[in-house]
Each structure stands twice: as C-alpha cells, then as structure tokens.
Symmetry: C2
Subunit: 304 residues, 2 copies
C-alpha cells in the first residue's frame, strides 16, 4: 500500500509533484535528506538555509542537482519588522544573501516569514508598515536575481513572535504594489485552513498570478507545548485537504507541493518511515483533488 | 496608586464602565464574586452560567441586584455545530434556556461561542453553515425575550475545537440577515488583536449597530499548555489597548468593558489582589482612549 511498494520508487509518477521540506526531517543533514528523498522516490526538496550552510551554497546546489532532484523553495528570508535602522540594514543584508542563495540553488522561490513584534513593541500597525517598506527595499535585488519573494501568512497564533502577516488576503495586499513575478504568496494549509475568506483569497491568488507555492501539513490538537511544533502529518488532524486542494487546483497551480512538518514526534521517528508515510498520505489525501481537472463551474467554461 | 487607594471604591467614577467577568476569578462562588466586586468598586459582572446554576437564576438575579451591581452579559450560549439532529435539538433547547436566564438576570447580552468541528468531521464550510442555520432558529425566541445573541469570534487557534467563527468580519456576515437588536457581536481583544482587517471591521460594527460588548485581556506568550488559559492581564502581553480602544470608542460604543481572563496563575492568586490589579490596569491602559472624545478625523466633522 505504500508508494514505494509499487516497483522502483523513481518511477512512481504519483509523486512527481511531491517535495520534502528539510524541516520535516530536522535531524537529517542535507546529504541525508537528498539520499532519503531519492530512496523514497520524492523528486524535490524544499531547503532550509541551515542545511545549505552545512556544505556551502555552490556545493549544496551541486549535490542536489547530481542526485537528480529539484529545489522547490528556499526557506527562509524575512524578519523585517525591526525599528532600529542598524537592525533593518542587517535584516536587508541577510535577505539579499538569501536571494543570492536561492538563485544559486536554482529555485525562484524564497519563502518569507516576515517577523513578529520587536521587543517591547505593541504597534502592530507600524510593524506591518515596516514589512511593506522592507519588501519594497528588497524587490529590485530579488528581481535582478530572478528570485521571487514568496510571502507566507502565518497562523495568527504566531503574530506576536514570528509573523505579523496573518492572512492570505493581507499577503496579497502586501504583494500588490509589486510585479507578480517578483512577489508571490504561499498557501500553507496549517496556517490558513481556518480562514473564512480562504476560498475567495485562493481564487484571487490565481487571478493575480501570485500563487508561488503550496505547502501541506495538518492542524493537530492539543497545541504543542512549543506552539511551533504543532504541525501534524496530513490526515492526523482537522484539515480538509480535498476542499483546499480543489481551490488551489482551480487557480491553475500545478507546481510542487511541499510537506513541511515541525513536530517533535515526527522528528524522533525514523526518517525513511516518515517519508513513506508522507508519500502515502500525499497520494491518498492531497493528490486526488490536485489531479482532477479544474472545477467546471467557471464562467469561461460555460457554453452559454 | 491603586484605584482602591483613592477613597471609598464605590465613588471611583473611573471604574463606572468596568465589569468583572466571573471567569477571571474562577474559584469564587457567585456570592464571593459579588462581594469582591463591591469591595473593589466594580459596578458590573459578566456572569457564567455555572455561577448562576449554583444558586438558581432568580436568586442569582436578586443577589446581584441587591448588591447594586449590573449584569453586563451572560456567558455563554452556542455550541451549534452538531450534525446529528438530536444533538441539534439538544443544543437549541440549551440555548433557549440560556436566553431565558439572560432575561431573568436583566442583561440583554448572551455571549455565543459557536462551537468547533464535531468529532471526526473536517467540513468547516458545512459547520459554519450549520451555525448560521441554528442562529436563525434561535433569533425569534431571543427576540421575544428581549435578548441579543452576541456572536463571539474566537482566536483561530480555537477553530477546530471551540469556534468555527474566527474573525469579526465573519461574525458580522453571520449577523447580517437578522435585526441588529437581535444579533450583535463582541470584540474580545485576545481573540481579534492580530486581525489585519480589525480597524475596518470594528468601524463596521458601529455602522451596522452590532457592537454589543467589549471584552479586554492580553495576549501572552508562550501559549499555555492548555491553550485556553493563555489569556493575560492587560499590560502583560502584546496587545495595543490604546489603538483598539480608540477604534471601539469611535463606533460610539459606551457600554461596559468586561475583563475576562482564563489564566492558571491569576486563578491561583488572591481574588482581591487580582481585582485591584485589574482596576489599576483598566484605569491606566484601557480607560484613556475609552474616555477621549471620538476621533475627529471623520468626514462628517470636516468643516469643508
């Protein structure tokens, strides 16, 4: 029943859009993640910068390329809410380095986690404005390097400490002043599944050509002691992947689907078993709507 | 410096809009909460149904009235997402009982926590529709009893298990089909502070005459092991009460301001000390914008 039980894993076309985000196998080195993905027949990696730093960017790019894998995204840039000008300059320099890294790795998607409220600051309106200003600072450099800044709305429970960007609608507003090829957005089911405006805003990502990445994992309860580690394997929690996946498909998105799970139990498990489960759940829960033809209820499909 | 240090607490007019929600002093009986509020010069109570059940509704109403206190709201009705028809009927019966209780207690505000996803169900769109249907079922009974159903958007981290109603905008949409005097909304800072649409949606509550209650407490980190107990005393966390309070004031809202804090440390502390801190923080952090005249930047105030 597992994906890898059906002959050589490399030939399982059902996995052709699946990407392993290296955060899912936190204790694997980059080389181990590459080898694990190859063994499991997973053709792409979403790579965190700490894994790239292990071997250096050029070498990381070569290792991934030599293994025949794609890089679906680089995680992550961002943390742009500082008030202090020196801190702002430092953040911009770090983001420019991340842009260069993404280009070297051969991905055009740099995932951006924008940052929370700076120490002792409660001015969320001001913090959001600074994010807009810093994105504007970075767009020319990203554009020169052929890299897209991919804005990630995070679950509102991370608003204070990780991202004042809390909804997909807000991400699209933040992206709006910039060309679609320079600033996109990512839909991560964990962060946005609860949003009553989700159907409408996902459709809008399609109309505005902003949907750059789709990440899947589940919402588990109870919330973990470290709230960051609350993510679950698809199927273990409350998220309706069929419905959200259908909305994503209807935008025309046909790119990689990354599985990014921060979860202490998954991190403690055997990596190959995690990837086998991940591939099986992907095929069972995520792929069905991703594979269907787009919803035919669109006006441009009406014969009348 | 405390509110109670300035003469007889009963005469401190700065506390005239402050209401103690009985959840803040969880281990106090109704009688203890009444006595504590009187000692602290707090003129109103937001009452939970378990405290009312201790003595019976008629007796609870009399005790509160005899102490010279108001009831700012009854907490709570709701939990309307059941799929099973028998469960739905049970929920409706329980909500009708809560409506009768509110009327007997002399408050027109029944706070509604709508409920999360039923067991093993992931259809959030369907759950939200059932909430809309059950609200419609309840409106005539509420209206006959002069009670307003006050819809409470809860923080999205409670979407799976407590309330599929997650934003103020969604609450206003849910209220829209019904008369404003029958269905209102509550702004609870803890639940909505992160919302990028908050300014706009609070202003809308004013235009649509839906703002029935204002509850304050802070957003603390880390999220508590029991996520329900993450609320903090105003000033201990990340919320900008000045800004949100100004938006609320500008709607014309001049009713009670309830302090409702679920927090194990606050529950373990001496109740009178909690009320003294609460009154002081209210005066320092919440009252300043609540007392100012409305923002003069409105178009109808422009001489031109």
């Amino acid at each position: 029943m597992t994906a890898t039980a059906q002959g050589r894993p490399e030939t399982d076309t059902r996995l052709q859009r699946l990407s392993l985000n290296t955060a899912t196998t936190k204790y694997w080195t980059l080389q181990q993640a590459i080898n694990g993905a190859v063994r499991a027949g997973i053709p792409a990696l979403g790579v965190w910068r700490d894994r790239v730093a292990e071997v250096g960017t050029e070498r990381a790019a070569q290792l991934i390329r030599d293994a025949g894998l794609r890089v679906s995204s680089l995680c992550r840039g961002g943390f742009l809410t500082a008030v202090d000008p020196a801190e702002q300059r430092k953040a911009l320099a770090d983001n420019r380095a991340a842009i260069t890294e993404a280009a070297t790795l051969g991905t055009d998607s740099l995932i951006m986690v924008v940052g929370g409220l700076p120490d002792s600051d409660r001015d969320i309106v001001g913090a959001r404005q600074r994010v807009a200003d810093r994105i504007a600072d970075l767009v020319p450099y990203a554009s020169e390097h052929g890299v897209r800044l991919v804005l990630e709305p995070l679950h509102p429970m991370y608003c204070a400490d990780r991202a004042v960007l809390s909804t997909l609608g807000q991400a699209l507003e933040l992206a709006a002043p910039h060309p679609a090829e320079s600033v996109g957005v990512v839909v991560d089911t964990f962060h946005v599944w609860w949003d009553p405006a989700l159907a409408e805003q996902i459709a809008r990502t399609g109309r505005e050509n902003r949907l750059a990445a789709y990440q899947v994992c589940d919402w588990n309860l109870p919330i973990a002691a470290d709230a960051l580690l609350s993510r679950g394997m698809m199927g273990d929690g409350f998220i309706d992947f069929d419905t959200i996946g259908g909305w994503v498909r209807d935008t025309g998105y046909n790119g990689d689907i990354e599985v990014e799970i921060f979860n202490a139990d998954i991190w403690a498990a055997d990596g190959d078993e995690v990837l086998a489960t991940m591939a099986r759940r992907f095929v069972d829960l995520v792929l069905p709507t991703a594979q269907q033809p787009p919803n035919k209820n669109r006006s441009d499909d009406n014969p009348g």
